[in-house]
Amino acid sequence: MYEWIAQQPFLAALIALVMLGAVFGALLGFASEKFKVEGNSVVEDINAILPQTQCGQCGYPGCRPYAEAIAEGEAINRCPPGGEAGIAQLADLLDVEPIPLDEAHGEEAALPSVAFIHEEDCIGCTKCIQACPVDAILGAAKQMHTVITSECTGCDLCVDPCPVDCIEMVSEELTLASWHWDLPSRDDSATIIATDRIATDRDAA
């Protein structure tokens, strides 16, 4: 054996390398089967960032289809409910430059809103129930309907189908519980340094 290796060093090396390649190839193959990742994880990640209002303002029938489209290269600025924060997160995830929200698809609402059914006008047609993507409307044929506020995503898909226009989008009211501090406004004076300030003070005086 040793003699043969000594006599045929080139062949021996070749055989050894081929064997190593086979072993590691088998290992890799096994690992790729064993630790297989189910589904498209990029789509899942994008979908997790999207606000899941299922409003369709992006032009896709729901958040997941838009996530799939983004994974295929669609623009990331078509989701008004997600807003600038959502775009920033998507840009971060996909490692692209954040771009401003495409106003053609709607504007970002300052406060989240929920649908409200004026119950005295409701005729019980169930059209809004069929439109609601998250089953947040309760009612039956010829019975008054109402919105389960805690489940409503504010997608306003129920507003158009209503034949008597009894659905209204109501902005959530700002309460002590929902109020919070804003970031301090940054005025231009923040950029001057102490010596500048003395200079401006002198100018003023």
Binding site: Q52, D135, L176, W181, A190, T191, I193
Partner: protein, 708 residues
């Protein structure tokens, strides 16, 4: 002397406490109107249980707790409920919230109340219920329901140390200081109740060394008890719960944890007094000690004030001059916030009203760029990296903020105080905390929406599949039915089949040519069809006939019809057909007779050419008719069998079947077979009879034709 520890960071701002310490606690008195916010604590707002116009007595409960983490609200004095409405409250947002408004009657009549004088023998549940019903929430500033804090340890561990917080480290505020100085016995009595509830190994009353008179009073009151008054150097913010615990025990509350995790419960001195008054005297929390200070008031001091008293009322008592005021602050200069209107009420957590002048508390100078000096990190009592948090806040990098323990920030303001660039750091953290909380809430909601959306999609798909399955099942059932009917009911299908065949035959005949209009050799042709064909043939041949011939032909036809009808009638009578059929035949014959007479007269009138023929019309045919018959016969002869023979054979078959069926029926009847079998046989016989009749007629006609 106990060993004391130190915590990281901290600052030494000017104390400014002496101004309000010159006078003893004053009673503020009763204002004309008291405004009681329903949410003076952390947790769910209380629910009002009074109506507008209702008379209430001092100490009467006006709003009950809504949920576990909630406390009730009591009337601070006797009077009338004049409104339950939204009023502006002391909150940095300046928003209005639901309040109960009581107009006092100045009588200050107490509701019937009694404490538990023998509280040492009462059980914990009774004491906790008493504290809860008294509406006590932490009076240090946060306002967490005291009964909840004392009642349950969410992590389950045992408590070995009870800490009473008498630090009051924030500048200007002296409410706890004067409380300890003047009501040390009540503090100690309240602490004994807390001891009974918590059952700690040691009880520590922590006081900063800048309150010597309070320390002395406490030490005197504590003599003969197992409580330790622990004095430590003044430093801001040693009054923070976690910082105080570290000073007194050397133990750090873990990040994101509670003091209970390391076996400590911390309560405010004011809370201890409230517990004492609730348990021993049965008095709910309706008043508190509030400091009114600042250079804009002439006589700063501390007031024992009813909750709900407008701040303006207290300011007036202190000789407030509005023109000197820079801004009104609730709380101290470090952690307090500006209140928009002096009319807002004093609540359970109002420890200080600060009315500083412009000179005393100048507006913050403009923020300048961060120079990364690191002073903030040195000052931070929570050992955070304020500078990093600042950058992340500005960049809205929420994940990194959380990774840098933003939520361990106690918002003490030490970093902002230390910052040489005057950056309002705490404001950034507050905003970012709110953003992160909001983001988490949004994420939870979006996750929830996603689940619901997917569940809905699944449901819709399932419904569509079920519908499709149902549709398919219906279709299959219909097909199976049709097949079954086709297999089982060929007898019933006979008429249809026959009609189809007839139509085909007719078409074939039409193709044969008009000069040989002949009866198709199908045995079961219906009489009407035959009549039409005969009529057609007659018309065809009579086209160039004389009127006499026409009349004669007509007469013959009529005679033929009459004969047929009579034959049918006799046959029907013999077979015992239904009365209606016989009646119909009789009526038909009756109708035919006058027509026949008319035709006869016509023929007679037309003279010689017309030769009256005797009744059996079959024997007499005019030339045209005969020609047709002949042609038919000739055509029939080309086939293997003549139509006559076919018809004859058919007739024989039918007769045999009928005879067989009748024999079977008779046999079945004799044997007493099933009614269903007998019925079926009878039905079959009934069906056979008309067929037989038709066949008979055909044979007769054919015979007539052949004979002719």
């Amino acid at each position: 002397m106990r060993k004391i520890w130190d915590f990281h960071g901290g600052i030494h701002p000017p104390e400014n406490k002496h101004q309000s310490l010159t006078q003893p606690i004053r009673r503020a008195g009763i204002p004309a109107e008291l405004v009681l916010p329903l949410n003076q604590h952390i947790g769910a707002p209380a629910e009002p249980i009074v109506e507008i116009g209702q008379k209430v007595l001092k100490g009467e409960c006006v709003a009950r707790p809504a949920g576990f983490i909630s406390v009730p609200v009591h009337a601070p004095t006797s009077g009338t409920v004049t409104a339950v409405e939204e009023r502006q409250v002391a909150h940095p947002s300046g928003l209005a919230t639901e309040c109960i408004v009581i107009t006092s009657d100045l009588e200050d009549r107490w509701v019937e109340h009694a404490g538990i004088p023998d509280w040492t023998s009462a059980d914990k549940a009774t004491l906790l219920a008493c504290i809860r019903d008294a509406g006590i929430a932490g009076m240090g500033g946060a306002g967490f329901p005291t009964a909840v804090k004392l009642g349950v340890n969410p992590r389950g561990g045992s408590i070995d140390t009870l800490v009473l917080n008498g630090t009051e480290c924030e500048p200007y505020i002296t409410a706890d200081h004067v409380l300890m100085r003047e009501r040390a016995e009540e503090v100690v009595a309240g602490t004994r109740i807390l001891q009974k509830l918590v059952e700690p190994k040691e009880t520590l009353l922590g006081v900063e060394d800048n309150k010597p008179d309070a320390i002395e009073a406490l030490r005197r009151a504590c003599e003969g008890t197992d409580m330790d008054v622990v004095v430590f150097p003044t430093k801001y913010p040693s009054g923070g719960e976690k910082q105080l615990i570290e000073i007194l025990t050397g133990r750090q509350v873990p990040s994101g944890g509670l003091p209970a995790d390391i076996g400590v419960v911390c309560q405010n001195m004011g809370t201890a007094v409230a517990v004492y008054r609730a348990v021993v005297h049965g008095e709910p929390l309706i008043s508190r000690i509030t400091t009114v200070t600042g250079e804009a008031v002439a006589q700063p001091g501390n007031f024992d004030v009813l909750l709900g008293t407008p701040m303006s009322f207290l300011l007036e008592l202190s000789g407030f001059s509005a023109d000197r005021l820079q801004r009104l602050v609730m709380g101290g200069p470090m952690m307090g916030f500006t209140i928009p209107d002096a009319a807002v009420p004093v609540v359970k957590t109002t420890n200080c009203i600060l009315a500083p002048t412009e000179k005393e508390l100048p507006p913050p100078p403009p923020a300048q760029p961060c120079i990364r000096c690191g002073l903030c990190a040195e000052a931070c009592p929570a050992s955070l990296l304020p500078q990093q948090l600042y950058w992340f806040s500005r960049g809205k990098e929420y994940e990194k903020l959380e990774a840098h323990n933003l939520f361990d920030c106690i918002e003490c303001g030490a970093c902002s105080y230390a910052c040489p660039s005057n950056i309002p750091l705490v404001q950034y953290y507050r905003a970012s905390k709110a953003e992160v909380t909001q983001l988490k809430r949004d994420q939870a909601k979006s996750e929830h929406s996603k689940t619901r959306f997917e569940a809905r999609q699944e449901r819709l798909q399932r419904e569509a599949e079920e519908k499709e399955a149902q549709r398919r099942a219906r279709k299959e059932a219909a097909e199976a039915r049709a097949r079954q009917a086709a297999e089982a009911g060929s007898a019933e299908q006979d008429p249809i089949q026959a009609a189809i065949e007839r139509a085909q035959a007719k078409k074939a005949a039409a193709q044969e040519g008009e000069e040989t209009p002949q009866r198709p050799a199908v045995a079961q042709l219906d009489p009407a069809q035959l009549a039409i064909e005969r009529a057609k043939a007659a018309r065809a041949v009579s086209a160039d006939q004389s009127p006499a011939e026409k009349a004669r032909a007509n007469l013959e036809r009529l005679q033929e019809r009459l004969a047929k009808s009579e034959a049918k009638l006799t046959a029907s009578r013999e077979q015992g057909a239904e009365a209606t059929i016989i009646d119909a035949l009789e009526a038909a014959i009756e109708k035919l007779r006058p027509k026949l007479e008319v035709a006869q007269q016509e023929v007679d009138a037309l003279g010689d050419e017309a030769q009256p023929k005797p009744a059996p019309a079959a024997e007499e045919k005019d030339a045209a008719q005969l020609a047709i018959e002949r042609a038919q016969a000739a055509r029939a002869a080309t086939a293997d069998q003549s139509p006559g023979e076919k018809a004859q054979a058919n007739l024989e078959r039918l007769r045999q079947r009928l005879a067989k069926s009748e024999a079977k029926l008779a046999a079945s009847r004799e044997e007493g077979a099933d009614d269903s079998i007998i019925d079926a046989l009878e039905a079959a016989i009934e069906k056979l009879r008309p067929k037989l009749e038709a066949a008979q007629r055909e044979v007769e006609e054919l015979k007539a034709g052949q004979e002719a």
